[in-house]
């Protein structure tokens, strides 16, 4: 049922979806098998007792060159995929778990609770997202210590309002539908109506937002890292932090320390966006363009026409 529109999609949307999935899968593979793929650890600056050269251009030993700290850029890019994926999965999962139920409850019950929640989430939504993430991760890192959790939770807060909005609005309109009314008429309680009748109607819009948010979350994480509020550089490799270090290199014409982490971000975000766009165009009937089936017109049979 869910796959039908995807299977029946044609042309550009299908191509977008395919390209996006391929890129995303590539990064998932990088993230999962990072220790096997990367030649060195993300914080290794020597091998066989010999220190790597500092800021060495790409070569056979160091495909993407080395940084000013003599770290292997290729290994850092690979391990960066792991960090990015951890944060994104965690933040998208948590914001789904918070946003979707809140939206369902708010849309179903309405009244003052709904108004209050809408006002609050609208306010949070109007807040510049990066600013919110900066302040939150700064505060949370004081409370939770290091690791990926502060950054992921800070990003979570940024995206909850989006799920809330979409789920709340669809719930609000779906609860008036006659099948919901019928369910209520035979005595179904709010919990049953929400979980059995509304949920499956409402979640259809979620995959699109979730993928687009995942793309956005990677940018936010990198922005945090760039400003120095993300993950501590001793704990994991993070692309945004690497680019921040690379800004100083750029003046000397050293391009490899910034280019590769940056390309990784661009590629992964593009991949996720393509998945989101592709899903949107295949799942959203107002955007979907069905291919017209070729029509074979009956040939006019002039001989048989004589009987008329």
């Amino acid at each position: 049922m869910v796959w039908a529109p995807i299977r029946s999609s044609r042309g550009l949307p299908r191509w977008l979806l395919g390209a996006g999935c391929t890129i995303t899968l590539l990064f998932v593979v990088l993230a999962v098998f990072a220790p096997l793929i990367a030649p060195y650890d993300f914080d290794t600056f020597s091998a066989d007792g010999q220190r790597f050269a500092q800021q060495a251009p790409p070569s056979a030993e160091h495909w993407f060159g080395t940084t000013v700290q003599a770290l292997d850029v290729f290994s850092r890019v690979v391990f960066g995929a792991r960090t990015a994926l951890e944060v994104v999965v965690l933040s998208v999962a948590v914001s789904l778990l918070v946003g979707v139920p809140l939206g369902l409850v708010s849309g179903y019950f309405g009244r003052w609770l709904d108004r209050l929640l809408v006002l609050i989430t609208d306010t949070v939504f109007s807040f510049p997202p990066l600013l919110l993430a900066i302040v939150l991760s700064f505060l949370l890192s004081g409370l939770l210590g290091g690791g990926v959790a502060p950054a992921a939770l800070a990003i979570t807060v940024v995206y909850v309002p989006q799920y809330f909005r979409v789920v709340r609005n669809t719930t609000f309109s779906a609860k008036e539908a006659s099948y919901v009314e019928a369910a209520r008429a035979i005595g179904a309680g709010p919990l049953t109506v929400i979980t059995r009748y509304l949920f499956s109607n409402v979640v259809q819009s979620v995959p699109v937002i979730a993928t687009l948010n995942a793309a956005d979350a990677i940018l936010t994480l990198a922005g945090l890292g760039f400003l120095g509020y993300g993950i501590q550089p001793t704990e994991a490799a993070e692309w945004g932090y690497d680019i921040q270090r690379a800004i100083a290199d750029a003046g000397a014409g050293i391009w490899w320390t910034g280019l590769f982490p940056g390309l990784a971000i661009v590629l992964l975000v593009t991949g996720l966006t393509l998945v989101g766009e592709g899903l949107n165009e295949t799942l959203n009937p107002t955007l979907r363009r069905r291919r017209l089936l070729p029509v074979t017109l009956p040939t006019r049979d002039t001989d048989a026409g004589g009987s008329r």
């Binding site: 042309g11 550009l12 006002l119 609050i120 609208d122 306010t123 949070v124 109007s126 807040f127 510049p128 997202p129 990066l130 600013l131 919110l132 900066i134 302040v135 939150l136 700064f138 505060l139 004081g142 409370l143 793309a215 940018l219 990198a222 922005g223 760039f226 400003l227 120095g228 509020y229 945004g240 680019i243 921040q244 690379a246 800004i247 750029a250 003046g251 000397a252 014409g253 391009w255 910034g258 280019l259 940056g262 971000i265 661009v266 590629l267 975000v269 593009t270 966006t273 393509l274 766009e277």
Partner: protein, 342 residues
Amino acid sequence: MSRTAGTLRRYVLQRLALVVPMVFILLTFVFLLVRVAPGDPVSAALGGRLPPEALAQRRAAAGYDRPLIVQYLEYLGNVLRGDLGRTISDNRAVSDVLVENGGATLTLAGAALVVALLAGIPLGLYSGRHRDSFGDVGVRLFGIVSYAAPVFFTGLILQLVFAVWLDLFPTSGQASPITQVRVDEITHILLLDALLAGNVDAVLDVVHHLVLPAITLGLLCVGVFLRLVRVNLIQSLQGDYVEAARARGIPERYVVRRHAFRNALVPVVTVMGLQTALLLSGAILTEATFNWPGLGSELVDYLNNRDYVAVQGIITVFAVVVVVVSLLIDIVNALIDPRVRY
């Protein structure tokens, strides 16, 4: 005519009434964000640098030993009177920080918006006009990639290519030191001050410094306008009035130009307003990349110094700016498009 004025006034009043709770919630939100962390601003900023007695004295003088709810009410009152307090780390009035550094952020954001509109609208119109052609796919990919590239990465690449290799533009600052000395500060917006002084060299110098940061931040928003204009044009081209124009035998290029383009461009105003938050977020990163002396740079500095009063002041202003801009945009929209008012 009077009916129109009546509905417009009612709409504006309704919209204004909504701003009050929004600003209130935002202020509360900002206060909670900054103050929910354990400790008070004075100890956070100066802890370890002053002896405990001096610290306690400073804390009492600033009123941080009172209950949080009292401080909250005081903060609300002060903000309403336009008083954002004084920074702890360098004892500036927060309003001075806003005046002195706000101009740089405003210039950057304004120039970026111009870049985004100049690039986004024509590309979007082209893309929508030639839907599903190779050009359309190319433009859409450009839209996606330009959004997918973090601003600081775009900035880095632009710096590498245009500043380091081609040596065309400077990589940091708002103007060369000589310009900053020679131009009197009147409005604290360097570009405007240079124009007011009638100093052509200074104007050129400021613009020269502005090009790369503006393109960097502008590229972040290009995709949004491009996509919006494209989708709107596609929808307009399927509209009944366009069909009717075609049926009357009006040549296709007139139909597109006179009938479809105009309607496709109306929502651009709304979306411009919605970009404020994105633009401000991007400005923080752009400023950090190009050493741009704006509010974003100040915010990052103050955060690193754990100066919560300054942080609180700056994010209060950012938040209020977003709300006010969205209010203005809604009103402008109601003026342009009568359907909004009802």
